[in-house]
Amino acid sequence: MLNLILMALRRRAAPPGDDDADEVLMERFRKGDARAFERLLERHEKAVYNFIFRLVRDRELAHDLLQETFLRVVKNAKGYSPKAKFTTWLYTIARNQGIDALRRAKHRRHPSLDQAQGPDPDGRTLMDKLPGNSDDGFERTDASEIRVRVEAAIDRLSDEQREVFVMREFQQMPFKDIAGVVGVSENTIKSRMRYALENLRLALADYADDLPNAVDPVPARSRA
């Protein structure tokens, strides 16, 4: 009788709130609360998808890996320890998925100069992105042009530098957490980040004058 009352109370528990920590939501999901997982998915799905896409640079593959990542979270929920930070665990799974996919696809990836780059299949080709291809050399570079150049420069980073740059810049993860995901020291992460920033700076040197002014400190991105 007592068990029945406890079951009823548990089922009537308050829905997960927006302020609940990831670890709390994960604990609730482990106990059978599907709404808690739904909240986690809403919170991280987009960011994880973009992280994976930046790693593998293929939309369909990124979708598959996103699904596989969260299915692994579901499958391994029992083994999750609340002491570990959820995002560290989540991005470790996503990164491993991405690395495995890159290894599988490495031997067959030969990007063509005519192949569309970026999320849009009808977008600009790699040939379009190469600097100095304008007719007169004095073509004015607008904001979308800069964006495309930045994306191409990020894609040309090494896998190690790119993953660190994406996690810090787009996912807003502190260096300490990135070190936990990648499994190296924090200083190594900072060193990779310095190289990534330098490589991007050199790749976009031709557009330095067109880049937004950086007089004020960089505001935090609104992405979560």
Binding site: F37, H63, V74, K75, R147, F175, P212, R223
Partner: protein, 217 residues
Amino acid sequence: MSTAREREALEERLVELLYDELPPDEAEALRAQLAEHPDVAERLAQWQALRRAAAEVPELEPDPQVHYDILRAARLAADEAAGEATKPPWWAFLVNLSFAPALAALGLVVLGAGMLLVLTRTYEDAAVPRQEAPAAGEPTAAQAPAPAGGDALAAEKAAPAWPPRRRRRHRVARQGAPRRAGPPRRSTIRTRRRPRATARRPTRSSASWRASRRLSR
């Protein structure tokens, strides 16, 4: 020399300054040092511009179908986990001991009814007469006519022996005698005593005593 070391330390911490991962006082001290190294300050400014440009890179939206597929799997797993959570633990029987008084009362009722039944049958057995009176004119074994001649004792001996008691036969069977073929033997354990239909036969000793008396006459 000290300037070179300062510059190296400054460059190492530039990334932390860029991403605002330094405590406020350390960040302030680092900014003060940047005034002495304009080239490093220029690099920081370029990195900041790079960040502004990267902020313009659009985020992609995942396919909603993937969202639904993940949710479906999660709901199945959650239902399973909820089922396991509500499964009674091994000590749940202790909780069920609250039903023990009712079970004990039921047991007592069953026991009482059983005892009542046994006592009733015993009383019925006791009420039935064990020996029926012989019918009129029918001679009893004691009054049976003795065989003619004086060898009554020999005739007594030649007469078929009284069938041994069942218990004795049972003992013999248990001592290793071969089982006879045919239908299974009825159990020798008598659960209910039936009243004898005929008069009890006299024992062997009393018959021989009566025969010897007749001879002495």
